[in-house]
Symmetry: C2
Subunit: 125 residues, 2 copies
């Protein structure tokens, strides 16, 4: 058991918020992963307010860099994300959100935003 | 079958390299996921040269923002990443790399860089 402890340090909401290292623009990348299938769905950005809303409401809310405003995922499409688990990386500059995704995660209608794949075998090119 | 086509568009190495939208600093975030377990291991950054090396050699190679140099994962630790699949998101500004990870992914010795988790239930704070 003890050798697993490094793999799961629990933080309170306040501790979590305080541990994030935002970039020079006040943002941090957040990777959304389907909590059940493990599929990586998308990457978007958060500022402190969007992270606080996400953690305190459970409705995943990003910062839209193009629109420069808070963006509650699914607010127009209905394709919401409910937060299941929030993880922070070793140096505090990336978030991993395990989510319960309603409908497709991608605005194109694809289940995930990652639908383009290298067809060549790596190392063969 | 046809309704799955949107979920998997195959690109050649040249097409893949040309489809990436780098940020103003010439970088793109890359999410590394364990190809077998599905665990998200880390997020790091790539420039065009590191992505080209990754795709053509299969040895995952990032751009170290702190050291400002190419960084072949595991070059000092031995904890290498072999590329299994490379995916690009809908708008070309995030990479998802499914990898065969040797040893722990994190420099702390943890299996993944995401070992700090919100202990409060989302929405309860």
């Amino acid at each position: 058991m003890s050798d697993r402890s490094v793999d799961r340090n629990q933080l309170s909401t306040d501790e979590f918020l305080a541990a994030v290292n935002y970039d020079s623009g006040g943002l941090v990348p957040a990777v959304a992963q389907d909590a059940r299938s493990g599929a990586v769905l998308m990457l978007a950005w958060m500022n402190e307010e969007s992270l606080r809303r996400t953690l305190t409401t459970g409705d995943v809310t990003y910062w839209s860099r193009s629109r420069q405003q808070l963006w509650r995922k699914g607010e127009t499409s209905g394709h919401t994300q409910r937060l299941v688990e929030a993880w922070l990386d070793c140096d505090g500059d990336t978030l991993l959100l395990k989510v319960d995704q309603t409908g497709p995660a991608c605005h194109t209608g694809a289940a995930t935003c990652f639908f383009r794949v290298l067809g060549d075998n790596p190392g063969d090119a």
